[in-house]
């Protein structure tokens, strides 16, 4: 089955991005496909390469980057939400791309299920 995922909250502050990641990973390990992961609202903050969590904590941004590389997942950051919040190509982590809200709608159309992770 093909899943679309929407992540609406920033890393660390809300568990939403953890749950979304663990959901995506479980789906992939079960042989499902992820059509796209779309980052909206504060979710765009999952994509900053300037993050540097404590040594004993998970690195949420790096974890997304690795997931994208391992499984060729399309990680899309909403451009309007990103500009408001100071995410641009210059601080965008590897594996993410910035695009428009149409990418979310398209994911809703093409995926079999769209799951929202938020506050």
């Amino acid at each position: 089955m093909k899943f679309g995922i929407m992540v609406n909250e920033g890393p660390y502050t809300h568990e939403a991005s953890d749950t979304a990641y663990l959901f995506a990973k479980a789906a992939l390990e079960k042989g499902h496909q992820i059509h796209r992961i779309f980052f909206y609202h504060d979710g765009v903050n999952n994509s900053t390469k300037l993050t540097e969590p404590p040594q004993d904590d998970r690195n949420i941004v790096a974890r997304w980057t690795k997931l994208a590389a391992d499984y060729k997942i399309d990680l899309v950051v909403c451009v309007a939400a990103a500009l408001r919040r100071g995410i641009r190509d210059e601080n965008l982590a590897e594996g993410f791309r910035i695009s428009g809200l149409g990418q979310l709608i398209e994911s809703g159309i093409q995926a079999d299920r769209l799951v929202v992770f938020g506050d």
Partner: protein, 99 residues
């Protein structure tokens, strides 16, 4: 359909609204702070038990365990891991996240 609730029923109205909306035969999955709605002996336990007559309630075990609530889940609530979460989404036509 599948409903997910990720907020504590003591802090927000999302579980309550979800219970209003979950039609007979649908499923509710409690995740993140939503798992506090799955526990025995709380001020919301009776409301949840009553809803279980019409809907199936699941709770994400990793979130229950993280919070130290392993031994407190209401009997009849089904505990799932992330793999089970994926199955629930796949099995239901659509998902409403009560964010």
């Amino acid at each position: 359909m599948l409903h997910t609730v990720n907020k504590s029923p003591f802090e927000r109205n999302s579980l309550e609204r979800c219970l209003d909306y979950a039609k007979k035969g649908s499923a509710i999955l409690l995740i993140e702070d939503g798992v506090y709605g799955a526990l025995k002996g709380t001020a919301v336990t009776e409301k949840v038990k009553k809803a279980m007559k019409n809907v199936t309630i699941y709770a994400l075990y990793p979130d229950i365990e993280a919070r130290g609530m392993q031994d407190r889940a209401i009997d009849g609530i089904k505990l799932v891991d992330y793999s089970g979460f994926v199955d629930l989404v796949a099995e239901h036509r659509n998902v409403q996240s009560w964010v």
